[in-house]
């Protein structure tokens, strides 16, 4: 009689994470081969195309990087809230709010010099996201309203606002009836980096690194971590939980808002309904896979971006979008999920021992 359980390793296995990554990736791709063969494709051609399209050339890298930027920022937003044990499910709406605010600045700031215009746009985007985070933050801090529900519901509010704008007041008169806002002026566009990549990647990396430093090195970050680990201990040390909840949820909203601003200014050229492409929800997965650590968020977002780009590219080979999505999920799950084994080991326990607590 026995059962398998996961046991936390006393020390994290050195070099275990890359190894687990490779093993997990191999298992996932093996299952993927079966899937592709069954669905009538040449698996190796498909894999080659995926790699080629996502990391095979500077251009491929630039496309991957552009995807990774909103994923990374949304992931960071979720991770910031997660450090206090809070869940921000509203990053999607906050991204939209950020994009709307940035677009508004671009409308009123016509004729401003480009660097100033872009700076103000991005700050406004942060404010937009933060504003959407403020309501849930106050409700949670003051009367304990579950932030998962409030942030989730505000997604819908932001989406409806955006729809109203592009069907109504902001509708481009030259769009021939399509619900689109006008194209942004050239001064409102983030400058390019290489190929299709833009400066948003640098900004995102800086923000992620900055939060990582603040969390680990400053007294404020320390207080945040104490509060996240034990509320009662934080209270004893004179750390105000209410203030921390408030700041963290607003900050989380602001970071997601920034993602929206960058997406508008760098990637899309106008406000359209699908400007976010689900980045806010994908950010939850990014944060969870990164174990809520900023350094992990950047790496996971890059991998996530590459897999998404690769997955899109194979659809032009006739691979159906559902098979492509399954492949993407397999790879992410295999590559990152396997990381758990560098921190946990599998043990067989006899039934006898299991009862001893």
């Amino acid at each position: 009689m026995g059962r398998l359980i996961l046991v936390r390793r006393e020390k994290i296995l050195r070099g275990g994470q890359p190894l687990a990554f490779l093993i997990g990736l191999t298992i996932a791709m093996t299952i993927g081969i079966l899937l592709l063969v069954i669905s009538g494709h040449d698996p190796f051609a498909v894999y080659e195309r995926m790699v080629e399209a996502s990391v095979g050339s500077p251009k491929a890298w630039s496309i991957t990087l552009n995807r990774a930027v909103p994923l990374g920022l949304a992931g960071l937003a979720v991770a910031v809230a997660g450090s206090m044990g809070l869940w921000n499910i509203g990053a999607e709406g906050q991204i939209l709010a950020g994009a709307i605010m940035a677009a508004w600045v671009a409308r009123v700031g016509e004729g401003w010099p480009s660097p100033i215009l872009i700076t103000v746009m991005l700050l406004a985007a942060v404010a937009g996201g933060a504003l959407l985070g403020l309501g849930p933050a106050v409700a949670r801090a003051q009367i304990g309203v579950n932030e998962i529900i409030t942030t989730l519901m505000l997604n819908e509010v932001a989406l409806r606002l955006l729809q109203w704008l592009i069907h109504g007041p902001w509708k481009d008169p030259e769009s021939r009836g399509f619900p689109l806002a006008p194209i942004l002026p050239e001064e409102a566009r983030l400058p390019g980096l290489f190929q299709r990549a833009h400066w948003g990647a640098v900004i995102a990396l800086l923000v992620i690194a900055l939060f990582g430093l603040v969390a680990s090195k400053t007294a404020w970050g320390y207080e945040l971590r104490v509060a996240g680990s034990s509320g009662a201990t934080a209270l004893y040390a004179g750390i105000s939980l209410k203030k921390k909840i408030l700041t963290v949820l607003v900050l989380s909203g602001g970071i997601a808002g920034l993602a929206g601003g960058i997406e508008l200014s760098g990637n899309s050229d106008r406000i359209v309904e699908g400007i976010s492409a689900g980045y806010g929800f994908a950010g939850i997965i990014v944060a969870a896979l990164a174990l809520l650590r900023p350094s992990g968020v950047a790496a996971v977002a890059l991998l996530f971006g590459a897999v998404q780009v690769g997955g899109l590219s194979i659809q032009t080979m006739g691979v159906s979008s559902s098979v492509s999505t399954i492949l993407q999920a397999l790879i992410l799950f295999g590559a990152i999920g396997a990381g758990v084994f560098s921190r946990y080991s599998i043990k067989r326990v006899s039934k006898e021992k299991m009862d001893v607590k």
Binding site: E10, K217, T218, A219, W220, Y222, R225, V226, G228, S229, S230, A232, T233, A234, L235, Y236, A237, G238, E352, D355, V356, K357
Partner: protein, 503 residues
């Protein structure tokens, strides 16, 4: 009771070890059919372990379980239940959105639930034992007392002949506790046997027929007839009567009153009075011990002094400063150190590393601008680790890996650093091994010599008698007596703990 009645339960020489602790070391228990049998003992005496052995949750390392004369070997709680043993745990195991009736039949019901039929079944059962409850109400609407009745109904519905109640009155109001007593009496009349775990002696006196007392995992008194036994005697058995302790710290003259409390009133988590009009002073250079059966307001008193629980009236003065309404952090600045009962919940942050836990009281002074000064943090932490002999791995590792003794040294060391005037230590040596206990006790004595005023709350009377300069006994939120540990008779202390004022 009639001793010719057969035994419902007979536990013989039960041993149960856990890593680092022997919870049961040859405990025995005999429960006569149709009686209410109290199992008494302080926290950590092994009551819960013994009951979990009987209820099939744990398997004993050695010993025999007999139910109605038959030897039994339980693999699971289900086995114990089929032998007629049901247990009502301290934490209820109910589905809040289900009705009373649905909770009661859960797991035993037919495939198709007929709401009206289960409700009338459960209603009849409740009526039979005088348990007033509406079977159709969802559980989330019920008070704690009502929820407990649902738990009791669950065991009755499964036809348990032997009921174990683990500290059932801990969650009840006094009125609910009386009602519970009447119900138990009703159940005993039907030939059922009830095992009642408690450390509230007056309840034992009121409800129970016989009592067994455990101490340090052993049975020190078996099946005493409650009506022939004084509460004082029970209290004495619970706390033990080892010979007068040696190596008491040398007495010293006390100084200023560093901690003054007057007219303190505090409510507990159920908003019932926990501390009632309590006043005490602790002077510089003395240890004042607080003895008492647990649950008599000691926990709430410590929390209120630390500023973690609000008080309804009274004042707390530390070193001449009135801090009755101050935040914990301001009390700490005024020179208060606090060693909480619940170390990992209140004192430490389990996911953070040794350094981060060591600086908790003082991190505001270890800053360079907005940054925490790494080197100062490490020096500060190393100082505590060295001075208090905390054995750790790398300081950057989470404290979750430290042993209980080392966690406590780290916590006590942190609280003792800085300009300390008053230390409130709640159960500072509980759960530690012999060496750990000695180390913490030595630290307390050393601080006393430095002139710190120490309020020591403990359930270990030996520890209190060894360390205290004065000993106060708390009972139902009041101080019932002050004793000189050198001359006090254990019998008198026991009497005060049982609520009977001696002298």
């Amino acid at each position: 009771m009639n001793s010719s009645n057969p035994l419902a339960v007979h536990l013989v020489d039960i041993w149960k070890r856990f890593p680092g602790v022997i919870a049961n070391a040859g405990a025995t228990l005999s429960v006569t059919e149709g009686t209410i049998h109290a199992v008494l003992g302080e926290n950590g005496a092994g009551k819960s372990t013994l009951m979990n052995v009987l209820a099939g949750m744990y398997r004993p390392d050695a010993g025999e379980i007999q139910v109605k004369g038959e030897p039994c070997w339980f693999q699971s709680p289900a086995d114990a239940l089929s032998a007629g043993i049901g247990m009502v745990h301290q934490e209820f195991r109910l589905v809040p959105s289900f009705t009373v009736a649905e909770n009661v039949v859960l797991g035993t019901a037919e495939r198709i639930l007929r709401r009206s039929s289960i409700e009338s079944d459960v209603g009849n059962l409740a009526h039979e034992f005088g348990l007033s409850i509406d079977p159709s109400r969802p559980v989330w609407q019920l008070s704690m007392g009502e929820r407990q009745r649902v738990e009791i109904l669950k065991t009755l519905y499964r036809n348990a002949q032997i009921l174990i109640l683990d500290e059932p009155t801990a969650v009840l109001t006094p009125k609910e506790a009386d009602e519970l007593g009447a119900t138990l009496r009703e159940m005993a009349k039907t030939g059922r046997s009830i095992i009642f775990i408690s450390h509230k002696l007056h309840e034992v006196k009121e409800f129970c027929d016989e009592a067994t007392v455990l101490r340090d995992g052993k049975t020190v008194a078996a099946s005493l007839l409650v009506k022939d036994t004084e509460t004082v005697e029970l209290a004495g058995l619970m706390v033990g009567s080892s010979p007068a302790t040696t190596n008491r710290p040398v007495p010293q003259t006390r100084g200023e009153p560093f901690l003054s409390i007057s007219g303190l009133r505090i409510l507990d988590d159920r908003f019932l009075p926990a501390v009632q009009d309590l006043s005490l002073d602790v002077y510089s250079g003395e240890i004042v011990g607080i003895a008492g059966v647990s649950g008599n307001g000691q926990r709430e008193l410590a929390q209120a002094i630390a500023g973690l629980r609000s008080m309804t009236s009274g004042t707390v003065t530390i070193n001449g400063e009135n801090l009755s309404n101050a935040l914990p952090v301001d009390r700490s600045k005024a020179g208060l150190g606090y060693v909480p009962e619940d170390r990992l919940g209140v004192g430490l942050a389990p996911r953070l590393n040794v350094i981060e836990n060591a600086i908790l009281r003082n991190y505001r002074n270890l800053r360079q601008g907005p940054l925490l000064a790494d080197e100062q943090m490490i020096t500060y932490c190393e100082d505590i680790v060295d001075r208090f002999g905390v054995r750790t791995g790398p300081l950057g590792e989470p404290i979750a890996g430290l042993s209980g003794g080392n966690l406590q040294r780290l916590l006590v060391g942190r609280e003792l650093s800085g300009d300390l005037k008053v230390l409130v230590a709640a159960q500072p040596t509980r759960g530690l091994d012999v060496k750990g206990v000695k180390a913490i006790q030595d630290l307390l004595v050393a601080e006393r010599s430095r002139g710190v005023a120490i309020l020591l709350i403990s359930e270990d009377l030996d520890e209190l008698l060894t360390l205290s300069d004065r000993l106060l006994v708390m009972h139902e939120g009041k101080i019932l007596g002050e004793f000189d540990p050198d001359t006090a008779k254990r019998h008198d202390i026991g009497a005060a703990m049982a609520g009977e004022v001696a002298t």
